[in-house]
Amino acid sequence: MSVDSHPGTIESLTPVDKKRSHREMLSMGWPQLITCLWFAVLFFYFGNVHIFYSDIWGHVSYGDWIIANQSLPQFDPFLSLAAGVPCIDAAWLSQIIFAKVNSVLGVRGLSHIFALTVFTTHVLFWFAFYLKSGRVGVSTLASFLLVVISSSRIAIIRPEIFGSLCVAVLLVIMAWSEKYDVFKSDLSRTDDLEKPQKQGAKTSVGLLFSLYLGIPLIFLAWANLHGSFVVGLAILGLQFLGRVIEVGWRTRSLIQICTDKWVRRWLIVTELSVCGALLNPYHIDLFINSLTFPRNPNLKDVLEWEPLEFRDAEGIWFCFSWVIMLVLYRHSRERVRTADVLRVGLLSLAVIVGVRMIGWFSVVFVYAMVPHLANVLPNWSQQHPGLDMAPPQKIPFWAKKSPVITAFCVLILWFGFAFSNIATPLFGGTPRKLDKIYSEGTPRQLTEFLKAHPPEGQVWNPQWWGDWLVSDGPPQMNVFMTTNAVHLAPPRVWKDYLGIARASRGWQSVAEKYNVSTLIVHKEKQVKLDEEVRRLKGFQVVYEDDLSVVVSREPALISAAKQTKEAGAKQAVKAIEADQLEPGQLEPGQIESDQEVQP
């Protein structure tokens, strides 16, 4: 039994490195330049991601509710049709953060917190990959791979981003620990036998603190931020199990397994992490909720909870990942870690069952592949470890290092930050227009109309707009469905919702069952329903814009619509008479594009 050193650690500790001059120390190569460029692009991209109109607004509303009531909701506070369905709010802390940011900084603040969180997450992922591979270029390639595989889930602002941040910190600590926690199998290589014992003894205090204090604290935060903490526990638990299997396989001895330092460490860290995660308002109920959540029957109809379709983008990237993995395993001479195999296996199954897990899969997959990527890809800098060791003419182009490149790196990073939206408050300039922050499909004009003319009865609305309507619509509006409460709606309500959404046969009677008095329809996504609601007996179109149409049988809304129409007509006539009507002039009820709409 022994622990060997990691190739990556040797690279940075060679005597040659120590002898480098200041100039050499300040010299960077192409990999660093590409890395800086990559992160500048990522920062720019995350800073410009639109705030989607869906569940983020539900989380903001939940946060506002929690702050206002100083307690967690027992039932969904906004969906009367889900009254009596117990609610475990697994993301309460994230919701408070979102609500606070939104109340202080508005929607721009939400955009900033998203950009900063996701960017930090990717920097940490990169750092974890670097700790594993010891190579800048490989880490950047791995970071790129991760973004590509999880591309379908990367640009959505929701509490899951804090879960990703937690897993990134966890992976950094795990990658750090893996420099020490490596089980040596080939005992015949006697030259390596001494190293592990030395390294085992040299486990740094910082690492031990990170393991025994840092990781449990991560889980304490994670369990209160998002329900994905169970994925983190699985990652950690499998690290322990992997170590057990590795030691057990080689030694065939229970005593050896139990006395192995890293087996003990990972076990204790996992247990402490479970204890940390238990420090949440629901205690172990949160675990049960997180584990049983995917069994919710309503989720079968939600795209991101559907099983993997190999023809979809996620399916293609998933298959691509497996092909890469097989190729790397075939050609790499790096040891395959049992924990990595277990994690990739478990998360692959999870993705096959529910495509939503692709984000988590991409993380463990890339984390597992990094050492093999490093092993397979040629290492120019190792072939020519120092500028002084090889004649200049023989240095390949990709291995060149220069202070000029360093300057470019700094410049790229500076431009990446200076031109980002986050820098605007610091350096001045025009803040990003609200139209560029809200996603195109956000029905902002609709909620302006509804606030002016609040419906009193049951409103039927597309589920994806429900959260926005709750957040930005009139207070106490009785919405039919929200994205945030799909899992809380009784299954019959959900089925009935879908029946109306798809304008299935007899949908009118279903709407009647709920005494729906106002229907909001997404014109582009619900073409059939759009056609049918206009013919609905007793209902009239009371509002329409490019995005939505509202029909109602509420007298107040109908008369308001008539008044608006008459006022609009009079205004138009006056404008024509005065020859003032210009193309693109705002219609009555429209709002200025840059007018701040405080959710």
């Binding site: 049709l81 369905v85 172990i284 009784p490 009935d496 009647e512």
Partner: protein, 396 residues
């Protein structure tokens, strides 16, 4: 060559293993206990052995005289003896006449005979023949009668069960299905398990729960929703007045039954009760306004324009008896505060009596289901159940 592990090391390993196994076991046990308590929440509420009885409150001869009542009820005897009696007629007749009913007429079924057809597959088999599918079937939730699948099935969700509840069938009453013997409790439990607050027909399920449930504690449906009678009442009051079976009147009947059960054993909150009373008062004032000069109401009893586009089977008289008979029935059981003026009731009662007496025999046969409500209403306004009325008075 393997070295022997020292005893002390073994002891330390054993201690280490025991400690961690204990720790993990404790966490698993905690989880299991909590999961079990989650599952316990889904446990069905307790049933009372005998359902609560809701007795008539008033005796008003001004609405219907003894002789008129006897004459009307005589016309509405359950003359279903013979092959293939429609199950919705049988369960309506059972609810109308009760278990105690017996008739001199050989064509009429007694209350016990009707109950047997509904609850004993052997008897059902005799009257419907072996070709007919059994009325009582087993599903994943328990035993239930087939609904809206032809003449040999019940007409509405939980209607048969509610009828059995209203006539006082105890939960341990034996029922015989094609697959074996069980008790009525199995049917009630099936209803509880399959109940959804947003199901299409919920009026009779409400009656079943109100009459059979032991206490008023919330219970969890199989959809994971805690429900209570306040929430059910809200659901009942949610729709527009005339929407629902029999122009919405069964919803009003169910609300009245909730109030009456609440009088016997609290099942509603103060606020919930007030809400129902307010709602029923509004309905009553609406009905008072829309009553015809002759005394009847029609499908459009809420005052809207009469829409006959979806009306296929019913003649104007049938529609009016349906609307008027049902309203008179729930008023007969309702507390004083939601009743209309006496004049409204008298006009409606007189119109019902004369209309039923004028009806040809064939129309009575075709309209038996809602005539049973009208007949029962008239009996209740005399403070009696129909089986307590002396039918021999009809000739006088």
């Amino acid at each position: 060559m393997q070295t022997k592990t020292p005893f002390r090391t073994k002891l330390r390993v054993a201690g280490f293993l025991s400690f961690h196994i204990l720790l993990v076991s404790a966490a698993i046990c905690w989880g299991a206990v909590r999961f079990h308590s989650w599952e316990q929440q889904k446990q069905l509420p307790k049933l009372r052995l005998n359902p609560l009885q809701v007795a008539p409150l008033y005796d008003r001869p001004q609405i219907v005289s003894d002789a008129d009542l006897a004459r009307v009820l005589y016309r509405l005897r359950p003359q279903f003896r013979g092959k293939s009696p429609q199950i919705n007629y049988v369960d309506h007749a059972l609810r109308f006449w009760g278990i105690e009913a017996t008739f001199d007429d050989p064509k009429s079924l007694s209350g016990i005979e009707m109950r047997d057809i509904l609850l004993d597959h052997r008897r059902f088999d005799q009257v419907w023949g072996p070709e007919a599918k059994p009325l009582l079937v087993q599903n994943q939730h328990g035993i239930r009668p087939r609904v809206q699948q032809g003449l040999a099935t019940s007409s509405h969700e939980d209607h048969t069960l509610a009828s059995l509840a209203e006539v006082g069938t105890p939960v341990d009453y034996p029922i015989v299905t094609s697959e074996g013997e069980t008790t009525l409790a199995a049917m009630i439990q099936e209803s509880l398990r399959s109940f959804s607050l947003n199901q299409l027909e919920y009026e009779w399920s409400t009656l079943v729960f109100a009459l059979y449930l032991q206490d008023s504690a919330d219970w969890m449906t199989s959809e994971g929703q805690f429900v209570n009678f306040d929430l059910i009442a809200d659901r009942i009051m949610r729709q527009q007045p005339t929407k629902g079976v029999c122009y919405g009147n069964h919803r009003l009947h169910a609300l009245v039954m909730l109030l009456r059960v609440d009088d016997q054993t609290p099942i509603l909150t103060e606020e919930g009760r007030e809400k129902i009373i307010r709602y029923l008062k509004n309905i009553t004032s609406m009905l008072v306004k829309t009553q015809s000069d002759e005394g009847f109401w029609d499908k459009n009893w809420d005052g809207h324009k009469l829409d006959l586009s979806s009306e296929k089977a019913f003649t104007p008289r049938a529609r009016r008896i349906l609307a008027t008979g049902h309203a008179m029935e729930w008023w007969a059981l309702a507390p004083q505060e939601v009743l209309p003026p006496a004049e409204t009731l008298q006009k409606a009662g007189r119109w019902l009596v004369s209309s039923i007496q004028e009806m040809p025999e064939s129309e009575i046969k075709n309209s038996y289901t809602f005539l049973s409500h009208a007949g029962r209403a008239l009996a209740l306004w005399r403070g009696k159940f129909p089986s307590q009325i002396d039918l021999s008075l009809q000739g006088k």
